[in-house]
């Protein structure tokens, strides 16, 4: 039995019965990574020593009869934008290539307290800016289903890792589809949480108004177990929600008959790959079989999701990235610098990749005196209309179903020439973040041999419902159990 392939639930049961130790599980995972990742390149950092030490601690904790959780002893890794104390955190950028955070993000602290075992950091698009992982300053991550294709982005490394069973679960981060789109491309389950449901303290910010950390795993049940640990108010994050955290596993196996599904008609207009559309329609049919009521709804402002998303992204990212200046951490290019401004100019030019530079320049532009009203403020107003679209829809239905991407994973290099073309691939996932609503991406089929992902979008704080629906769907389908050929 390949220990590393177990779901969180399965591994947890074996650990609880003491049929396997965390050390065994973690070692097996690490060995698998070292064999497999050379061709996939999902990891920026694999921290074997600390992982094994944590695994031993988890075993010790269990041995002593101390309190354990479903996550105790389970190996996991996180997208490299989440601060891990003492473990290199790079955002896949040269400017942070050797940065060692002196503190843990709240989510890491919570997972550590639960006894989970951190094994490494995942590759991503630099500072989350990208939809294919091709903007990493270090190397491309390859889709385990077809190594010539992208895993999606920006949580590409996390999706590829889970797909290739390199780590039982992952934490990704979704600002504009960055969990769901790669989850769809790689055949894994990923949850974009309600904005504020999970603390952002320690998450290296991209778009402060949209960033949402969420679990990525083999199925909805696993995602629920992880969410249980990381969700909840954090006094360090003023935007985190005080709403109590429900017991996500309590009702997850309940039937879903009678829930109303909305199909947003704007998401099904021309442009979808045929195989993607047929997979989604088949999945919708399955939901109908489960007793859910299907109806069409409209999200009239859908096409404005992209400009709203990007304009706000440009503005906030340009400010969030201002602190990377070569003075307190990270890359510092001081040779030939006659004054501190030279230090800034040189460091940031060398440290940031082209996509990052484009976006922060555009950010400065849209916030400039004279342009603020026309761009940033306009985008914030249309954002209100996007939110209202969702609110109106959720008065008629409980969940929306849509594809995560109009196509399956494209080839490496296919879209890199045209930044705008890359932005357009986000079209289905990009409206949820400005609205703050949660969405679960689940595997629902294949098209031309590549995975297709379906997203279930719910209203504010409806993670429990989404996970329940996802679990129900996964109880009558096997898509999520399929593994890439190289991992058989």
């Amino acid at each position: 039995m390949d220990l590393y392939s177990l779901t969180l639930r399965e591994a947890g049961e074996l650990l609880a019965k003491k049929q396997v130790s965390s050390l065994e599980l973690t070692s097996a995972t690490l060995e698998h990574i070292h064999r497999t990742d050379a061709s996939i390149r999902a990891f920026v950092t694999v921290s074997d020593e600390t992982a094994l030490a944590q695994a031993r601690q988890a075993d010790e904790r269990r041995r002593r009869g101390e309190m354990v959780t479903p996550l105790t002893g389970i190996p996991f890794a996180v997208k490299d934008c989440i601060s891990t104390k003492g473990v290199r955190t790079t955002c896949s950028s040269r400017i942070l290539e050797n940065y060692l955070p002196p503190y843990n993000a709240t989510v890491i602290a919570r997972l550590a307290e639960a006894g989970a075992v951190l094994i490494g950091k995942h590759n991503m698009d630099e500072f989350g800016m990208g939809s294919s992982c091709e903007n990493s300053a270090f190397f491309n991550t390859h889709n385990p289903w077809d190594l010539e294709r992208v895993p999606g982005g920006s949580s590409g490394g996390s999706a590829a890792a889970v797909a290739a069973r390199m780590g039982t679960f992952a934490l990704g981060e979704d600002t504009g589809g960055s969990i769901r789109m790669p989850a769809g491309f790689c055949n894994v389950t990923g949850l974009k949480t309600t904005y504020g449901r999970v603390s952002r303290y320690g998450l290296i910010a991209l778009v402060s108004s949209f960033d949402s950390i969420g679990p990525m795993a083999q199925d909805a049940y696993d995602c629920a177990s992880v969410l249980q640990v990381i969700a909840g108010k954090d006094p360090h994050d003023a935007t985190s929600l005080s709403a109590p955290v429900p017991d996500y596993l309590k009702d997850i196996t309940q039937p879903v008959k009678g829930f109303r599904v909305g199909i947003p008609k704007e998401y099904f207009q021309a442009g979808m790959e045929a195989g993607v559309e047929s997979s989604i329609r088949e999945a919708i049919r399955k939901l109908g079989e489960l007793g859910m009521e299907i109806q069409e709804v409209s999200l009239p402002h859908t096409k404005y999701g992209l400009p709203v998303y990007y304009l706000i992204l440009f503005a906030e990212a340009s400010a969030n990235l201002a602190r990377f200046d070569g003075t307190r951490f990270g890359l510092s290019v001081s040779e030939g610098a006659e004054n501190v401004i030279d230090l800034y100019l040189q460091t940031r030019r060398e440290g940031f990749g082209a996509e990052v530079r484009r976006r922060i320049m555009l950010g400065a532009y849209v916030l400039s005196a004279g342009y603020y009203d026309a761009y940033y403020l306009k985008a914030q107003k249309v954002r209100t209309l996007l939110r209202q679209d969702f609110e109106n829809a959720f008065e008629k239905v409980d969940v929306l179903v849509a594809p995560t991407c109009p196509t399956t994973a494209f080839k490496l290099g296919e879209k890199t020439a045209d930044p705008l073309a890359m932005y357009l691939s986000d079209i289905y996932v990009v409206a949820t973040n400005p609205a703050g609503v949660p969405a679960l991406s689940v595997p629902c089929g294949f098209s031309n041999g590549m995975p297709v992902g379906m997203q279930l979008i719910g209203k504010h704080l409806s993670e429990d419902l989404l996970l329940r629906l996802g679990h129900a769907y996964q109880s009558v389908t096997d898509w999520h159990k399929m593994r890439p050929g190289m991992i058989q």
């Binding site: 002196p102 400009p307 304009l311 070569g326 006659e338 530079r357 026309a374 306009k378 930044p419």
Partner: protein
């Protein structure tokens, strides 16, 4: 609040503007780079003029309508970060200070 006249659809971000915004975010940039970025930035911004189609006269910006309000903390001193933890990542230090190259001008 009255919205300003939106820019025209064929608005170009020329090389001079690229250099200007690059400096605003302290990005060193060569003439060649500025020339290369210009059409890219122009294309992207022009696509976003799509938003001009939407009538937002009576709409409030989303930043003002979120539900959370008044999150504050009590005025209590909490332990600071050990100085070595901070200095460890600092590229250039002088004693316990962070060292930077010559600074002139106020702001």
């Amino acid at each position: 609040m009255k919205t300003k006249e939106s820019p025209k659809n064929d608005f170009t971000i020329d090389t001079e503007m690229v250099k200007h915004v690059a400096y605003l975010v302290r990005l060193g940039i060569s003439e060649k780079e500025a020339q290369a970025f210009s059409p890219q930035l122009t294309e992207i911004i022009n696509y976003f003029h799509l938003l001009n189609e939407v009538d937002t006269e009576a709409v409030k910006p989303a930043s003002q309508i979120s539900a959370i309000r008044s999150v504050m903390r009590t005025d209590q001193v909490r332990p600071s970060m050990p100085r070595p933890d901070f200095l460890m990542n600092v590229p250039h230090t002088e004693g316990n200070n962070v060292q930077v190259p010559l600074v002139f001008d106020e702001e």
